[in-house]
């Protein structure tokens, strides 16, 4: 439709400023049988933006495997739920807070943590671990350090105060994030299987209760902002960023968990993106009922707030509940004890409409199905580009004597150096159940009061995804799976955080489609379903999109914590072995990007059969107590992984190998590989078992001394490795 035939009373510019397309507006008019008023227009804008409606991604997300014998709740609720035996469940999800974190890094990241925590405790779970996946621009970009400091400060500021340990995560740097950083926050909680809470409203006439903080004018249109690209004037959007209050969230957490012990809550929904609008509509839609709200009753932080503002505010630390009428006073007393707002603001109705009143006047009346079922869904055009071609590198292209100096350069690079500076700003030990602290392959937290644990890992390699979205999608899933295996846990399920550019561009949509296809294949083969997730599109500035970044958060179970594995080398005299095939794949490796400043050569392909075989072999060896330490061989290849094991365990190693192509062997990023430490007296059994399982194993060297020494090459002292590994952040 062009402006010349705009035939509505509503101003066209008003519709556009609400991020609605003109045909979407026509659909609203058709559904309502009239033009919406301003409040209603705001509600549609909030519900139909990309962030809340998944209109570009829904069709493709449905292709991911989401079920499995341990899956209790897949995507569609506040968070996914898996069975971890003994009547216990783990509840988890990862969510993006990219756009706000770029505008205001501290508060953007903090409220990202706050939001994902609420998603988890809304389900009845006590959060036990926070994780994150962060992407920043070029380390030398003038904004990068400011953004890193702000984001790390915000994540720590929120998590530390509320008292949930931040046990790990991943960080990387690439110029494609110069204008759009990514802040993906994940929370894992533990609940009882028979005490999971859902969001479907029920019981006509039951009270709809507002609890938590008061509503202010902050974050209005936050979700709409998160559904648009940035340009040079994006700084002006700062007022759409919410401000977090972790102390209030702590009170809200304790009050909700206290009330959940009573038989009082019928439905509960966190007020996250699009606040009161999306929470009330989701509860009504899931329960197939209507909801009437008297907005005059909403606790307000500012005077004279309008219906429009109240419905679109993204003030933090709020929840909406439907409760048993008989338990209203009990519920009120619990929230009063914790000094929180508690207000009955409406009731469940049989109208299947959202009806809002304020000061005695009707402000909105919208059939729920128009907002939800009739929400736009697009099958956007897409183009799948050919993956970047594979380049086969040869030994003659490299000077082998430089291997150790190359290693030092690599481990001092921001993408491979120690993240200690970051995790020491996070309280990663509060709750006293942290078994494996940050810095290993996966973090492990004990299930409180038991001898079992949850292993958690977040991962993605955007460069791999950019050059081959299909293999990159597979890789992101497999990398978390391998990290979980390396910690001695059985991988169970994942959450995904799909960060991409503008889906209206066919090549971006093609990246999305291919990443999903790769993820789906990996999940199916590994029996590792997707149980929750989030999509963040329009990560673009001035038309430049980020690299495709499907960040994955994987969760696994360790039945007996004495089988927990870490990466630190344990004892002198033990032997380090490499499990898996090495084929000198240097394409798109960290070696090429850091040492040769090139980004080509192709993404390594992933053989899922090998992954499964080698991973199962590792878990069998762990169960037989054959291994002392395990480390997945990932970014940077074998030698970087060895260096990490040495640094972590403060042990040296004498590497004794013969290879035609040392650079390829030491820095190649072939997949499905692990380094394992084994004592001399178990070495033979390990090798026999590997041969029986048709798993490739090779001896790398003997642990001991104060350096990494490589036969025929030379040696580098552990102290020098540590200095290089910690230098970049220490000088931050």
């Amino acid at each position: 439709m062009t402006s010349s035939n705009w035939h509505f009373d509503t101003e066209k510019s008003l519709v556009e400023s609400h991020g609605l397309k003109l045909d979407e507006f026509e659909k609203i008019v058709e559904g309502l049988g009239r033009e919406p008023n301003l409040t209603e227009l705001g509600i549609f804008s909030a519900m139909w933006n990309e962030h809340c409606s998944y209109k570009s991604s829904k069709y493709w997300l449905k292709k991911l495997p989401t079920s499995g014998e341990r899956v209790i709740q897949g995507p569609g609720e506040n968070a996914g739920v898996i069975d971890i035996d003994d009547g216990d469940v783990a509840v988890f999800k990862m969510e993006s807070h990219n756009h706000p974190s770029f505008l205001e890094p501290y508060q953007g990241a903090a409220t990202g943590v706050g939001g994902i925590l609420r998603d988890v405790f809304t389900m009845g779970a006590r959060p036990v671990a926070n994780m994150n996946a962060l992407r920043f621009g070029d380390p030398n970009h003038p904004k990068t350090k400011h953004l890193v400091s702000g984001v790390v400060g915000g994540i720590g500021g929120y998590g530390n105060c509320i008292g949930i340990p931040t046990v790990g995560g991943e960080v990387n740097f690439h110029p494609s994030y110069n204008g759009n950083i990514l802040v993906n926050a994940m929370t894992v909680g533990i609940a009882k299987k028979d005490k999971i809470f859902y969001s479907a409203a029920a019981g006509i006439g039951n009270p709809v209760v507002y609890v938590g903080s008061k509503t202010g004018r902050d974050g209005i249109h936050g979700a709409t902002m998160a559904s648009a690209e940035f340009d040079d004037d994006s700084e002006e959007k700062k007022p759409t960023v919410q401000v977090g209050d972790p102390f209030t969230e702590k009170l809200l957490l304790e009050a909700c968990l206290e009330l959940m012990k009573e038989d009082a809550i019928i439905a509960i929904q966190d007020m996250g993106a699009a606040g009161l609008t999306s929470s009330s509509i989701e509860m009504a839609s899931k329960g197939n009922v209507g909801i009437d709200i008297n907005l005059s009753k909403v606790p307000m932080r500012a005077a004279n707030m309008t219906a429009y503002e109240l419905m679109l505010s993204e003030s933090q630390e709020r929840m909406l509940m439907v409760i048993q009428p008989k338990k209203e006073e009990l519920a009120r007393s619990i929230f009063k004890k914790w000094d929180l707002e508690f207000e009955v603001i409406g009731e469940v109705t049989d109208t299947k409409k959202l009806i809002l009143h304020m000061d005695g006047e009707e402000q909105a009346s919208i059939p729920i199905n128009i907002l939800v079922e009739d929400a736009p869904e697009y099958q956007r055009d897409y183009i799948v580009n050919d993956p970047s071609p594979l380049i086969s590198f040869e030994s003659k292209d490299f000077e082998d004597k430089d291997i150790l100096s190359d290693l030092l350069k690599m481990i001092s690079h921001p993408n491979l150096c120690s993240r200690k500076w970051i995790w020491e700003q996070y309280d990663h030990m509060v709750m006293a159940d942290t078994v494996v602290r940050p810095g290993s392959d996966a973090a492990v937290v004990r299930v409180h009061g038991t001898n079992k644990g949850i292993a958690i890992s977040t991962d993605c390699s955007p460069t791999y995804c950019r050059h081959n979205p299909y293999e990159g999608g597979k890789h992101a899933v497999v990398e978390t799976w391998r990290n979980i295996v390396a910690s001695g846990a059985e991988p169970i399920a994942i959450t995904d955080c799909m960060n991409f550019g503008n889906p209206e561009k066919p090549e971006i949509m093609g990246q999305f489609v291919e990443c999903i296809r790769g993820m789906g294949d990996a999940c199916s083969k590994l029996n590792y379903p997707v149980i929750s997730g989030n999509v963040s599109l329009y990560n673009e500035t001035n038309g430049e999109g980020i690299y495709p970044t499907p960040a994955i958060g994987g969760v696994g179970l360790i039945r007996d914590l004495s089988n927990t594995m870490t990466i630190d080398l344990k004892n002198e005299g033990n032997v380090l072995c490499l499990i898996g095939e090495s084929n000198n794949h240097l394409g798109n490796s960290h070696y090429l990007s850091i040492i040769q400043n090139r980004e080509d050569g192709g993404t390594p392909s992933i053989n899922l059969d090998d992954e499964l075989k080698n991973g199962k072999f590792i878990l069998d060896c762990v169960a037989k107590k054959l291994l002392k330490s395990v480390h997945d061989v990932g970014e940077g290849g074998v030698l970087v992984a060895i260096a990490e094991m040495c640094i972590s365990g403060k042990q040296g190693i004498k590497i004794d190998i013969t290879k035609d192509f040392l650079h390829g062997f030491f820095f190649g990023e072939d997949q499905a590989r692990y380094l394992v430490e084994v004592s001399q007296n178990k070495l033979e059994q390990l090798e026999v078992d590997a041969s029986k399982s048709a798993v490739k194993i090779e001896r790398i060297g003997e642990i001991g001394g104060t350096s990494i020494s490589i036969n025929s090459i030379g040696e580098v002292e552990l102290s020098s490795l540590i200095d290089h590994h910690t230098k970049w952040f220490n000088e931050f």
Partner: protein
């Protein structure tokens, strides 16, 4: 032994210390809500770590005025052992039970990591089993300060409980994580029945924590 753990809005190490007490002392503490007004008959009162009132004013300042603190002070004055960990230390300082101040870390950032402390006075109910111990710190405001007169007074009166040190027990600038004056990690009141410390013994209380040196403080109380 009858023990009590105070719970303020924003406390978040209350459960952790309760678990440690249960495991080491052998009986569950009574959890006392900050709005309660009395604690009768206690052998140990713990003011736990966390972010009471979000640390929004000055760490510990608001909690120190909670109704229960009157009773905590009364019990302390009667000689009941009172122990403040991390935010609890800050609260005990704000309530006047302990001397000095806890300022922002010299690095200006939150620090969570293992440190090593050395007991300075091992003749107290809290430290009679203490040796050089490893345990975590996790705080933003743990930079202990007292003016020279106060330092002289607490030194003369053996009121320094713990000092940050290295693996060999040497107290030096390198082993000081937060800028605390004289590497002070914990102090007593004059009569040594009130202890405040920044490190978290309850997070180094069983093998799964990677270190259980924190137990010796609770074990000291048992003997």
């Amino acid at each position: 032994m009858k023990t009590h753990v105070i719970v303020f809005p924003g406390s978040n190490c209350d459960r952790d210390v309760a678990v440690a007490i249960q495991n080491i002392i052998g009986s569950s503490p009574e959890m006392v809500w900050h709005k309660d007004s009395t604690i009768n008959q206690s052998d140990l009162i713990v003011v736990p770590g966390g972010f009471s009132y979000g640390d929004y004013l000055r760490c510990g300042a608001m909690a120190s005025t909670s109704p229960i603190m009157k009773s905590v002070i009364e019990n302390a004055n009667k000689g009941v052992p009172v122990m403040g960990i991390c935010n609890g230390f800050q609260i005990l300082i704000e309530s006047g039970l302990l001397q000095g101040a806890l300022m922002r870390n010299s690095s200006l950032s939150f620090i969570c990591r293992d440190i090593i402390i050395k007991p300075t006075n091992t003749k107290t109910i809290f430290t009679n089993k203490s040796t050089i111990s490893k345990m975590p710190i996790a705080h933003n405001e743990g930079n202990y300060f007292a003016n020279s007169n106060q330092i002289k007074e607490i030194e003369d009166n053996d009121q320094i409980a713990f000092q940050y040190c290295d693996e060999n027990g040497d107290i030096n600038a390198h082993s000081n994580p937060n800028g605390s004056i004289n590497n002070i990690a914990g102090v007593f009141n004059k009569s040594k029945n009130v202890l405040g410390m920044m490190p978290h013994p309850e997070r180094a209380a069983e093998s799964i924590h990677g270190c259980d040196d924190g137990r010796n403080i609770f074990e000291s109380l048992l003997s």
